[in-house]
Symmetry: C2
């Protein structure tokens, strides 16, 4: 037993925990059958579904002393929801796996599920099922499905020479927040909160699709790393020009306190889940997108990314197993 | 570095590992877009999808010294595929999360993915995406989606008084195999193999739907525990009669060696992923289904399960967090 009024998940047992977590699940018009049977059933009016899965592991992607359970739930959901939006689709449903130590307070698991549901609700999606198991640390697996609503998906492979490169959403904030937390700071709050949970501009994904974006990617590994994914998939060079960037004030302040270049966080930081996309040169960029570069032809050096005219070799971003 | 010719997953790095595991992914006519973009895209010709997710944790659901990586992959896939089949649907695609220690040999991860793909191939499904992360033990999350092919789903809630209760597939074999392995034995091989990977009769799920089964469940928690799920969802009593059961020879032999009643394994053992279903009294049972009882009306004691005329209070099966 713990001090938690609800006790631990070991006290509750597997079936009791599933019952409690079911409170976080929801109904919506696209849900034909919700939780409680062998599977859920979700409408796919377009005759197809987009599907993606992400893992989030305590100690690697979040720390329970840095983030609230609601933060952790929001962050785990956002990773998959942003992937769906980056195809130009609208998320419809999530299924969630929660592996956790037996001494995890029930209240933590319930709040985490609430965070997942809260993030999903931002895009009209709901949790329709899940599984629980015991493990030494908290591990969340989130699978999202979504609906293209009749649109063609925006792939990584469609960037064309001459296209504009544009981005929607904050970049570098989560990386700056992590740098602050790692050094023992808890402020500026806006930056540490950006590490705790991203705030993707989900609507920018479908909006880019409607504006005939030629390619798009969810920036989860870092802008340069993910631009390279686009460049390689499209067999082009992506040229990023940082000279016109407006550096957000909190990033400037934190960077000058640490005597670093804030552009490093912006170029290599993942976890903000911005949307990086390419559009034909004459397209008026949709709301929230800012131009950051152009697509040029592959030369002898092959596909890749140039930043301010220099080849970028850095992989950047969050690479595990190093 | 290890002795493994391929090294460890830490040697390979996240992106290298994803590339290697992509070899286990496949294409099929229902796959509109395979792995490599922000999401996959899978056909849902029925205008809806069934979806389910399962976690499998090393040390809880499998041990690397008892099971090959192919066994582990097969078992992880089977849990989700059987859930899809238990709705009367046909699985179309899997997405997989693999969390594992950095010193896991690449060859283990690749073989595990091959096991997942091999099991999926039994029903025409393919792996279309995944994620990897580091963790202290191997954890697999498998999400399956499937197609009802125009049929109504078979829910847990449709059992009617007077229905036959029937089961398709082995029961108790995995529990017997686990009992043997726990006691240090590796034979009879057919039983320990049943623990290592189930062999669900997947086709029995859609066949039951076509035969107008009134309710159905994948037996993963144990026959009695899962019969209770059906009974409660349907507000009925399920009466199981073991007197006519034919006990399979390997179960008889193992049970007599341990001086236990093999019916215990059959009533409470999960992990075989048999299909428990109810059918109208006059329905000719589809192939592979055997009658094991009848559905009767709820009395003062409420919904539940009776075995040989005695109320069964045992939850049975695999309950974590105890």
């Amino acid at each position: 037993m713990t001090d938690s009024p609800d006790g631990t998940i070991a006290d509750l047992g597997e079936f009791g925990l599933i019952d409690r977590l079911s409170l976080g699940t929801g109904s919506a018009k696209q849900v034909i059958l919700g939780p409680g049977d062998d599977t859920a059933i979700v409408a796919a009016p377009d005759g197809k579904v987009v599907i993606t899965t992400d893992l989030m592991v305590e100690g690697r992607h979040f720390r329970r002393d840095w983030s609230t359970p609601i933060d952790v739930g929001r962050k785990a959901a956002a990773a998959s929801l942003a992937d769906v939006a980056a195809m130009g689709a609208v998320p419809t449903a999530l299924v969630v796996g929660l592996a956790a130590p037996g001494d995890l307070p029930v209240a933590w698991a319930v709040a985490c599920t609430a965070g997942l549901a809260q993030e999903a609700a931002l895009v009209g999606a709901v949790i329709v099922g899940g599984d629980v198991a015991s493990a030494d640390v908290v591990i969340l697996s989130v699978t999202a499905i979504g609906d293209l609503q009749g649109r063609a998906p925006v792939l990584r492979s469609g960037a064309k020479v001459g296209d504009q490169v544009a981005i929607a959403g904050r970049i570098g904030w989560a990386a700056a927040g992590l740098a602050l937390l790692t050094r023992g700071f808890r402020s500026p709050k806006v930056l540490v909160d950006a590490h705790r949970y991203p705030e993707p501009l989900y609507a920018a994904g479908p909006a880019a699709a409607k504006a005939k974006a030629t390619s798009m990617i969810d920036v989860s590994d870092g802008m340069v790393a993910d631009a390279r994914h686009l460049a390689i998939a499209s067999s082009v060079v992506i040229e990023i020009d940082t000279s016109t960037w407006v550096i957000a004030e909190p990033l400037q302040a934190a960077a000058s306190a640490y005597n670093v270049d804030p552009r490093e966080w912006m170029l290599t930081g993942g976890d903000d889940h911005a949307f990086l996309a390419t559009f034909p040169a004459k397209t008026k960029l949709p709301k929230n997108f800012t131009a950051i570069g152009v697509v040029s032809a592959v030369g002898d050096a092959g596909a890749g990314v140039m930043v301010d005219g220099v080849w970028s070799a850095a992989v950047g971003g969050h690479v595990h197993y190093l």
